[in-house]
Symmetry: C2
Subunit: 366 residues, 2 copies
């Protein structure tokens, strides 16, 4: 008998055993899957665990998996750029993920959006024109429009489907998108910025906020070239803030951000928020300006109080506390960290008579 | 044929098929396990994933799993009280777990231990007697003995095996255990405290630090009764600090801590650290004292500088920043949060000439 015929003969003869083994393999896979509570998205788990697949995010540098139990998937769509999923979780409310990376949760999105928007805007209470790059979920725009002096928010987001998804599933987060001062441009921000006219009076943008993912089509937003183009649109008194990475788990990237911005701006500083659902729970933003220093420039806290913005995270004290870097993080950055002893602000809150507080100085930033 | 005989007959007749199915089930389980990267400790995963089982910690309230890839298990032992495991991870160095809960990682233990020890000790630079309750890994004791004025550290830890494990696998973390000023008492702290004599002069303990797990034999350490017993051993000028929970994911417990301590101490405040490897990355301590207020009592920062303690996390600015609670957390606590405007301290670091800093006030705490 030739080999193929022999194999055919053997297969026919042991057909029952082979079928039984195959059925057993499938049963074994199913059994194991039922007993294994975790199976990350994208992994080749033949059968899912019981119930709805949890949302799993793997962070390569710390070799760490964050896994969220999920009640159900509310929405899943592929745009021209990315894979967008909305989950209903048990504790974090709804969460939005893009290409398997967690973007926002209903529970703690305000930690992030309040810190990105209010920190720079409070140095410039007269700021009128704000540019938001990215931030498709609308959370940043929502915080920006709470500042009454702002007249125009130019919002450049590449993926309209993220905006639409957020408006449908996160109406409160993205409420600011309905504000008449907001102009949404569905564009690649790198192209948009390159096309803008340089205005001779130093540019019309008072505040620029970059609120971006850090992969795929967002990569050009991390180049010195992009930052330099942005700077052409800013005046001397403007502030640029952007979302960075974890000071503890993503420190190499954090230092890169600072190093790229330092040749462009006089003051480049890191500030932080407690962000449980971002890798390590410790998240950093970069603050960059030629004239505004985080602690040496004053803030008119009375003006802030008068805006009557209710916050979940941000307070004037949290504002300054956020710039206080840990010894190790402070040590790896080139610029000396801001010091609390330098804070030059008017404190509107009542102070006890024992206080030796900084004298009132209700001026604008200098 | 009777039923048992019929079954026996069927089993004999289909033995081959049954064996094949069984082999298939085992193969299927193994195959699925190879394709499933996660299988938490304690779960009934018939076969582990490829390589070493990761360390998996489940937090019930947030329905969140934290999973650390593991190079190997270095040590595993069951004491009379608990199950102690030391893992070698890829990013966090060695990690110590007790009953499946992560206690410390080499990478970020200093965030925790520096904040627990230096925050209270810096208000009392003349503190001589310190009580450490728990803290079997030695990290707290190690930070305490760096304060030169301290003459005696009474260290009450229930499980000597944790101390021995830490001294073997975390020699740097537990280095302070060798200091001659440290007296280790292997005791249940609730019993130990109850047996101490109340000293008429207001007690000999200057600082009390509770560094404890929150389950099983540690539960008595969370009662008002225990705190009241401790207070009998403290003087009016003493400070009690203890590790609490996450302000964002464990807020109910955090509020409980504050509510239990408020009847006993005039000042009860929460402070925080960025602690990536504790649930949510946001971790809280409680500060309690009758006379020392976090921002209204001065700190002699020159005395701190002269101790020449190199830190990885703690700085004078981080110290005050840690007391600045987010709007939501501050709102659920009964006491008003400390304000930066009240800080009454001498800042030893050089300040730029533009600074309107708080005047020097190099006194001890009041």
């Amino acid at each position: 008998m030739s080999s193929p015929r022999r194999i055919g003969h053997l297969l026919r003869r042991h057909r029952g055993t082979l079928i039984a083994t195959g059925v057993g393999v499938l049963l074994g896979c199913a059994l194991h899957a039922r007993l294994t509570p975790l199976c990350p998205e994208g992994a080749a788990c033949i059968f899912g665990p019981p119930g709805v697949q949890p949302y799993v995010e793997y962070a390569e540098i710390p070799s760490f998996w964050a896994v969220y139990d999920v009640q159900r998937i509310l929405h899943e769509v592929r745009s021209a750029f990315q894979h967008i999923v909305v989950y209903e979780t048990y504790f974090h409310g709804r969460i939005l993920t893009i290409d398997g990376a967690l973007m926002i949760t209903e529970r703690d999105e305000r930690n992030y959006h309040e810190m990105l928007a209010h920190v720079p805007l409070n140095y410039l209470p007269a700021a009128q024109r704000v540019l938001v790059v990215g931030g498709g979920d609308g959370g940043t725009v929502t915080q920006v429009v709470r500042h009454a002096a702002v007249r125009e928010v130019v919002w450049v987001e590449i993926d309209e489907l993220v905006v639409r998804t957020a408006r449908r599933f996160f109406p409160k987060v993205s409420a600011g998108a309905d504000d008449q001062r907001v102009k949404l441009a569905v564009r690649n921000a790198a192209h948009w910025v390159a096309e803008q006219q340089f205005s001779a009076d130093g540019g019309g943008l008072d505040v620029v906020l970059i609120d971006s993912t850090d992969f795929n089509q967002a990569e050009p937003l991390f180049s010195i070239h992009f930052y330099a183009s942005l700077k052409r649109l800013m005046s001397e008194r403007s502030i640029l803030c952007l979302n960075a990475d974890s000071p503890q788990w993503g420190q190499v990237r954090l230092v890169q951000f600072v190093d790229r911005l330092t040749p462009l701006f006089r003051h480049v500083h890191v500030y932080q928020s407690f962000q449980p659902t971002y890798s390590s729970g410790h998240y950093a933003f970069i603050f960059a300006s030629d004239t505004v220093h985080p602690t040496q420039s004053a803030i008119d806290w009375t003006a802030w109080d008068e805006l009557l913005i209710d916050t979940r995270y941000y307070t004037p004290d949290v504002h300054y506390g956020a710039f206080m870097l840990t010894a190790q993080v402070g040590g790896v950055l080139r610029q000396p960290a801001p010091r609390l002893a330098d804070v030059r602000s008017f404190w509107s809150a009542p102070r006890p008579s024992t206080s030796s507080a900084v004298p009132a100085r209700p001026s604008h930033s200098d």
